[in-house]
């Protein structure tokens, strides 16, 4: 009767988990109450595991395998997943090509370098800009009357709910050279007609960063800041009122309160929000594709665009898979940092 069951539940005789474990040892394997539980669990988990083998494990292994082949879906290739044969194994050649910094490097390598730079620039610009807006905005919202807070919060969160394609089209129109709102406003201020092609003039750069990239950053910030805003508002509500009052009684100015009390108390949340924002910034596709489609002159060709174009436009799936593995490694490192941040204990 003491089948070494691994199923743990509480039954009629026991309510706490420890006692339940002891009682489960007394049951037989597939009959009786415990047997019914086991049948239920195995009946449900087995199809799930089979499903995940096809739709989760296989794609991951396949993606890594593709990175070591010169693969195109147009060629039949070998018997296993179409690898081999016309789609030959090339070892680490794809990754070796990535480190080719010579002048004669192939186009796809040049585009990879460009897109890695673009994505790094994008992510490292988006995070500080996002925090610089969302942190003060969150404490501003917390400083106004309680009834007004949801109103502002909901308004700033609305873009998060909007489809990225819609956001890209709306911002494309605002930044449109002849008919856009931004140029119209600038013309009003300057006093003469100003036509700036924000998303399509390759010669426009600020500090070596293309203006078209800033255009995507602005649209992305506008769409994405609602997330961190909500996370920071929740964190601010967790800061004890007594701490703030103590600082004010000691004569702290609002700015000092924000700088020396609020920010340090929110530090763990800020760290976490930064990593999460960066992870998603590395994967942005929709906005880039619809707003600039990587242009002008590949200036906004993000890694996600590079992977998509290589795989589905130029049918270089092996190469695209290798680039996607690079993207994965970047995100993996960031995720490990994130889990480290999550695990540490923080107290006020």
């Amino acid at each position: 009767m003491s089948a070494s069951s691994k199923i743990k539940t509480s039954d009629s005789k026991a309510s706490s988990e420890t006692v339940a474990k002891a009682s489960s040892r007394r049951s037989s394997f597939l009959t009786g109450r415990k047997g019914a539980e086991r049948r239920f669990v195995f009946g449900m988990v087995t199809p799930m595991v089979l499903y995940m083998a096809v739709f989760s494990v296989l794609p991951i292994i396949w993606a890594v395998a593709l990175a070591f082949f010169d693969y195109s879906a147009r060629r039949t290739g070998g018997p296993i997943l179409g690898l081999g044969g016309e789609n030959p194994f090339v070892g680490i050649e794809n990754f070796q090509k990535m480190t080719d910094f010579s002048a004669e490097k192939p186009l796809e390598v040049r585009q990879f370098h460009l897109s890695l730079r673009t994505t790094l620039l994008f992510a490292f610009l988006v995070v500080p800009l996002n925090l610089a807006i969302t942190l003060p905005l969150a404490s501003l919202i917390e400083s106004v009357h309680q009834r007004m807070r949801p109103l502002f919060r909901n308004l700033f969160f609305l873009p998060v709910l909007t489809s990225a394609v819609g956001v890209a089209i709306m911002w494309g129109f605002i930044l449109s050279p002849q008919r856009g709102l931004l140029n119209a406003l600038i013309s009003k201020v300057v006093g003469e007609t100003t036509i700036i092609a924000w998303t399509s003039d390759p010669s426009l750069t600020v500090l070596g960063i293309p203006v078209s990239l800033f255009a995507v950053i602005v649209a992305y910030l506008w769409q994405d800041l609602g997330y961190n805003l909500i996370i920071f508002i929740a964190a601010l509500q967790g800061v004890p009122q007594s701490v703030k009052e103590a600082a004010l009684i000691d004569g702290a100015k609002p700015w000092q309160l924000f700088r020396h009390v609020t920010i340090p108390l929110l530090k763990p949340t800020i760290m976490l929000a930064s990593v999460l924002t960066m992870i998603s910034a590395f994967q942005v596709f929709d906005l880039f594709q619809v707003m600039t489609n990587g242009g002008p002159n590949d200036q906004t060709r993000a890694l996600s665009i590079d992977i998509y174009e290589s795989a589905f436009r130029f049918q270089r799936m092996g190469w695209a898979a290798a680039v996607s593995v690079v993207l994965f490694l970047i995100v993996l490192v960031l995720s490990l940092v994130q889990s480290k941040l999550l695990r540490s204990d923080w107290e006020y």
């Binding site: 199923i7 988990e17 956001v167 506008w222």
Partner: protein
């Protein structure tokens, strides 16, 4: 508290200024959708429509190439099928992971959580090749089947299921309820608020999805709304007034519904801190 009140007026002013920036793209788009083509081409542009017109909407709704009802139906099918599948698998496996221990259960749970770290760009190429093998290209099921198991949903539901008292489950077992019956009649009702949040987030994700549908759906009449919007916008790049009206028709109605349900979506984000 007096001090706190003293800096409220500047707070309001800054917030209202920011509100204008936040609302501007919506307002600008909606206003443009009521302008005539001639007015749109005018430089400098007008803010309020000079000749307020519904013609753009009439043009779009009568455009034989833009069967909006069909595309709404495609998007709705994909979104609802995904919500249904995600809610079912997430509650079921959330319950199993929270309340049962079986060989490898911890490893399986951690594997599912770990898959959340993998960017969509990594699995999209083999995912596409799998759909080719299954003959699911240009099939709306191709947007549902690969998303049956949702790692985030299982994580969320596992957290919620942990708070269901074991006594409640034990009592049902004494009464002779089958295991599936316990899941359906005891566990599911307890998870209702979490299901509302997860359902909304899932609906939103799939309603707004762009990259995967772009790869899977290449036939025009199979496409979902976001792809149709970019297609229409590219077709009418010189008629911004039409594109803006199309954006309003395609983006705004569901955005309005999301806005009404915002409380639940916000709750999901603050509860998990995951996007």
């Amino acid at each position: 508290m007096l001090r706190l009140r003293s800096f409220r007026l500047p707070s309001y002013l800054v917030l209202i200024l920011f509100s204008f920036v936040a609302a501007a793209p919506f307002v600008w788009t909606i206003l443009a959708s009521f302008k005539t083509g001639a007015e749109i081409r005018q430089s400098p542009p007008t803010f309020w429509p000079e000749n307020f017109t519904f013609d753009n909407y009439r043009t779009i709704l009568n455009d034989p190439d833009l069967n909006l009802a069909l595309f709404y139906r495609n998007s709705a099918f994909v979104a609802f099928a995904n919500v249904f599948a995600t809610l079912f698998t997430s509650t079921l496996f959330g319950y199993i992971f929270a309340k049962f221990e079986f060989k490898g259960s911890k490893k399986l749970f951690w594997y599912i959580l770990a898959t959340m770290m993998i960017p969509a760009q990594v699995t999209m190429i083999p995912g596409f090749l799998i759909l080719v093998k299954l003959h699911l290209l240009n099939n709306l099921w191709g947007l549902v089947l690969p998303a049956f198991i949702d790692a985030f949903g299982i994580f969320l539901m596992t957290q919620f299921c942990k708070s269901i008292p074991n006594d409640l489950l034990a009592a049902a077992r004494v009464d002779g309820a089958s295991e599936f019956r316990i899941y359906r009649s005891i566990v599911l009702p307890q998870l209702r608020p979490a299901m509302a949040t997860l359902g909304l987030l899932t609906f939103m994700t799939h309603w707004n999805a762009y990259l995967w549908p772009l790869i899977v759906l290449t036939e025009q009449d199979k496409r979902t709304l976001p792809i149709i919007l970019t297609w229409y916008s590219n077709q009418h790049s010189n008629q911004i007034h039409l594109t803006m009206a199309a954006s309003v028709l395609i983006v705004m109605p569901v955005l309005f519904l999301f806005a009404l349900a915002q409380r639940w979506i916000v709750r999901g984000i603050t509860l998990t801190g995951i996007k």
